[in-house]
Amino acid sequence: MDLLIPLMVIVPIICALFLNLLHKKDRTIKAIAITLALILPLLPILASYGMHYFGGYAPLTENPTLSTGLPSLITGTALKTFHPAITYSFQGAQKLFIFILGLVAFLAIMVSLFETKRPSGVYGFMMFMGVASLTAILLTDDIFNFYVFFEIAALATVGVVLVSQVKGNYETALKYMILGGIASPLLLLGIALLLGVTGNVNITDIISSLKSGMVNPQNPVILMACGLIVFSWLYGSGLPPFHTIKSAIYSKALPHGAALLQAFSVFTFVALGIIILRIFSYLPISQMIILGVSLLAMILGITMALLQTDIKRMFGFLAVGELGYIGLGLGLGTAYGITAGLFQAVNEVLITAFLFIGFGTIYYQTGESDIRKLGGMMIKTPLVALLVLLAGFAMAGVPPLNAFQSKLMLIQASIQAGLPELGVIMILMSIVTFMTFMKAFHAVYMRPKPVELEIKNEKIPQATILALLVFLAVCILFGLFPHLVTGFLQTLSISLAGGMP
C-alpha cells in the first residue's frame, strides 16, 4: 500500500484545519497556504498506482494469509471476494484528475492570496476542504463514503460563496442549500436502497452482485435507486434543472473561488457519471438519460449564457453548457467516446478556470462585472487581454489548443456511434460559445471606456499573470500532445465500455 494515496485527502484537510486556526494572521496564512497548496498537484505525481483500505483489509481472495484457517462458510462463498474496508482506488485516470484538481486549486489559492489584501483563513479552509472532498470523491470505491464527501463538497461550495462578500451571495448560498436539501437526501436514499438489495456499499461488490445473479438487476428497487442517484448527479454537477442555481453560485463567488467551484462541479459530474456507468450500464435507459440531459444542458447553458450581461454569470452558464460535451462522450458508451468525454472534462476544468481568473482581473481592477458598465480595458491590461482572448479560443476549440483535440474526438466518436446529429449540434454550440465569449471580450476590452468606470486597482498582481501563463502553457501542451492525457484515460474508458472499442 502506498501511503501517499490517503495523504492526498488528509493533506488538504490538515491544511484547511490549520489555516482556520491561524485566522487573522495574514502573512503566516499566505506562506503556509502557498507551500501546502503546492503539495496538492505533486502528491498524485509521486504516488504509485494501487489500492488503499481504510478501517479494514483487502478482500480475502487477494490475501491468502488472512483466509488461512477461516471456515468454509466465508472462504467458500462470495464473501471472500467482498471488500470489508473503505477502499480507495488510485489508477491512471485518478492520477490525472487529482493532478489537474491540485493544479487548479494551487493556482486559484495563489491568486486569491495575492488579490486579497487581508487573506482569510476561513476562505482558505473552505477551498482546501473542497479539494479534499473532491479528491476523496475521485478516489473512493465506496458509495457511502462518496456521499459523505459529496455533502462536505456542497458545504464547502456554500462556504466559498458565503465569504465572498459579493452582493446577494447569502441569498444564493441559501437557495443552493435548500435545493441541496432536496437532492442530497435522495442520493442517500438511493444508496440505502442499493445497500438494502445488495447488502453492500462497495461499488465493485455491488457490480459483482448484479453480474453474478445474486441480485435481480431488474428489481424495481434497484431501478428506483438508479433514478435517485441520477437525480443527485444533476444537482452535484449543475445539470438542468440545477443549471440556474449552479451558474448563480459561480457568479456570487469571487473569480478565483468560481474557478475552483467549477472544477468541483466537473469532477463531481465525472465521478458520479462513472459510478452510474459502472453500476447501471446494463440499463439502456441510463445512457439515454445521460445523453438527453447532457444535450439539454448544452443547449440551455449556452443559449442562456448568450443573454447574460454579468460576465461571471455568463461564464457560469457556459461552464454548465460545456458539461454537456462531457456527458455526450460518456453517454455514447463507446471507449473512444468516453475517452473523449473525460479528456473534455480535463480541458474544461483548465479553460473555465483560465477564463474565470482572466476575466476576474477586471473584477479585481474595477469591482464591476456588468459588461454594460465596462470597456476600454485593453489599454489598461493588454497582456491580460491577450491571455483572455487565447482562453476564449481554447474554449471554442480553436487549434492548436486543448479543447480542439477533445471536441474533435467527441465529434468523431458521435459519428462512429452512428449519431452524427450530435456532432452537428456540438459544432453549432462551439460557434455560439465563441460568439458569447466575443460579446464579453468586445464589451470589456475593445469598446471605449465609460466615463463613470472607476479603476480601483491599477496593477494586477504578478501571481495572477503567472497563473494565467501556466493555464495557457498547459492548454497548448495538451493541445499539441493529447496522448499525454488520453493515455491515462484509456484503461478506464475501455473498462466502462465493457471492453468495446
Binding site: L179, I182, P240, T244, I302, T303, K439, A443
Partner: protein, 111 residues
C-alpha cells in the same frame, strides 16, 4: 415587413416588457442568435428519432418546427422561466425528479 423584421420586432417587444435596461443592438442580436440556436439544435436533435422510426422523426420535426415558428420568440419566455426565483427552481427540481423516476421505473421495466 420581412419575416426577419417581424422576429426582431417581437424580440424587442418582449425585452422591453422584461425591463432589464435599454434594448440595444447587442442584446437583440444575442436574443435572436439564442433563438435560432435553440430551434435549430432542437430540430437537429429530433432527427435522432430516425433510430426509432422515420415517420415519427418527420412528424416530430414538422410539429416542433411549426410550433416554434408560431410561438416565436421563445428565448424571452425561456429566460423568464429560468430566473433565480426559488419557487421556479423548486418546481423544476420536483418536475425533473418525477420525470427521472418515471423514466427509470417504467422505461426499464417496459422497454
Amino acid at each position: 415587413m420581412t419575416f426577419y423584421d417581424l422576429i426582431v420586432k417581437r424580440i424587442k417587444k418582449a425585452q422591453e416588457a422584461d425591463s432589464e435596461g435599454p434594448v440595444t443592438n447587442v442584446s437583440t442580436s444575442a436574443m435572436l442568435t439564442a433563438e435560432i440556436t435553440l430551434i435549430s439544435s432542437l430540430l437537429v436533435a429530433l432527427i435522432m428519432l430516425r433510430l426509432v422510426s422515420n415517420v415519427l422523426m418527420i412528424v416530430a420535426v414538422l410539429v416542433v418546427l411549426f410550433a416554434a415558428i408560431l410561438s416565436m420568440p421563445l428565448m424571452p419566455r425561456l429566460k423568464k422561466e429560468q430566473n433565480d426565483s426559488l419557487f421556479n427552481m423548486t418546481f423544476y427540481v420536483v418536475l425533473a425528479l418525477t420525470i427521472v423516476i418515471v423514466l427509470f421505473y417504467w422505461g426499464s421495466l417496459n422497454v
